[in-house]
């Protein structure tokens, strides 16, 4: 029950909301623009996605808008991807964005940096009360962190086999994208692929577990940034790396995020001191 009762700053969930909404735009809005004329289903789902993600980004009825965006993404994956077999909509980066958005709808993602917050502050001012604290339950934020862990864990399990650990799969992937059917003339190519394959699996297992320990963040968070940055730069991963960057926020204690935003704004509001706070537990 401690986890269910844990509350903390809503700024973390708000940043997740803004980041994921922008990623939804980046990944889908061109594909679903009306001028493509792909049929009624595409147009309707596109209109739904444009409207819902805009409200999600602005933070107007934030949780509802985020749930609407998540359900639209789910409809896109299930109907257009599974039923109509548009396989580009079944890629991992699409599933990850959809799941993260659905989980975000369970967080207090409108409590900060949103029109919802703006309205709450104005209402308090009119009533002569101080603005409500930016606090809310954190249990669903931990689910987003758990989802990121699961991606690393199952990705590592999938690669724990001879074809990957021998470096052969990485050889094929790099050749496919860089040299085509010709064996690369780079010196040590097989050794490089072997080292890359083994270290990738080791890193994924380490991240699946290690990110839950804040004292390892100084090492693991820069490692995540470099690892996904390399993938982003060298392979066609679409929005996968960027989505993992945004989701990584879920591992940072909410109080830390709050303090960082305060410092950026030159303020020092002590949200941790709000009454009845249970804990700002690290996930």
């Amino acid at each position: 029950m401690t986890l269910a009762a844990a509350e903390g700053s809503t700024r973390l969930a708000a940043l997740l909301r803004v980041g994921l909404a922008l990623l939804v735009w980046t990944r889908f809005c061109n594909d679903f623009a009306a001028f493509h004329d792909n049929g009624a289903a595409w147009t309707l789902l596109g209109a739904s996605l444009f409207a819902s993600s805009t409200l999600m980004l602005l933070g107007w009825r934030s949780r509802l808008a985020t749930a609407w965006t998540g359900l639209t993404l789910a409809a896109i994956v299930v109907y257009l991807g599974v039923v109509e077999r548009h396989y580009a909509l079944l890629h991992h980066h699409v599933s990850l964005l959809m799941i993260a958005t659905v989980l975000l709808a369970l967080t207090p993602c409108g409590g900060s940096l949103s029109l919802d917050r703006w309205r709450a502050v104005r209402a308090a001012e009119r009533a002569g009360r101080p603005p409500p604290p930016e606090r809310g339950p954190q249990w669903a934020v931990h689910l987003i962190a758990l989802q990121m862990s699961a991606v690393y864990l199952w990705g590592a399990i999938d690669k724990t086999r001879v074809a990957w650990l021998s470096g052969e799969r990485l050889e094929a992937i790099l050749m496919y994208h860089y040299t085509g059917s010709d064996w690369p003339s780079w010196p040590g190519f097989p050794a490089l692929c072997l080292a890359g394959a083994v270290s990738t699996v080791a890193l994924e297992y380490a991240l699946a577990v290690g990110l839950w320990f804040p004292r390892w963040h100084r090492v693991l968070i820069p490692t995540v940034i470099v690892f996904h940055g390399l993938l982003y730069f060298t392979l066609p991963v679409a929005t996968f790396s960027a989505t993992m960057y945004v989701m990584m926020l879920a591992f940072v204690p909410a109080a830390t995020v709050h303090r960082v935003v305060d410092r950026l704004l030159g303020q020092g509001e002590a949200v941790d001191a709000a009454p009845h706070s249970t804990q700002d537990a690290a996930p």
């Binding site: 269910a4 101080p130 669903a140 689910l143 699961a150 199952w154 085509g180 392979l235 709000a274």
Partner: protein, 151 residues
């Protein structure tokens, strides 16, 4: 301004709902992918977090060559067919399968003229790693010249 307002503590029922939601969704997130990874077949085989398992599984690594008394002499398919490697058609740069490799070999035979002998070492990418293709059978007892088999 008054003191900071307090936040109403969640009711026990709400706390129980959150805990149940966490357990159920957490179990789905953590254990759900096991289906795709261990039990799924057919079109479900790719469910789960199998990044890179499907990528680069529809092409072959090729090395064309001709036999010579001194050993093998590599043949550059781009040079033989008159292409700049950087501007060659994608299906020449990335040979799709053994049949496509044989078609390219046949074109090389035609460009090299009568008496040419073009052979190919072929390994195709699969999700289980490289798989040697029958076209790599270049033992002396076997006639694998792509020129003879395509005329």
């Amino acid at each position: 301004m008054d003191a900071p307002p307090t936040v109403a503590a969640p009711s026990p029922g709400r706390l129980r709902a959150r805990a149940a939601g966490f357990v159920v969704l957490g179990a789905i997130i953590t254990l759900g992918p096991a289906y795709g990874h261990f039990f799924a077949t057919g079109s479900h085989e790719y469910l789960g977090w199998k990044m890179f398992s499907r990528q680069a599984t529809d092409f072959c690594a090729v090395a064309y060559w001709r036999p010579d008394p001194g050993g093998r002499v590599p043949l550059d398919r781009f040079a033989v067919l008159g292409y700049d490697p950087d501007r060659a058609p994608v299906d020449l740069r990335r040979v799709r399968d053994p049949a496509a490799a044989r078609v390219i070999g046949a074109k090389m035979c035609a460009r090299l003229g009568r008496g040419a002998d073009v052979r190919v070492d072929l390994r195709c990418a699969t999700k289980d790693g490289w798989r040697d293709s029958p076209a790599t059978d270049t033992s002396p007892a076997t006639d694998t010249s792509l020129c003879r088999t395509t005329r």
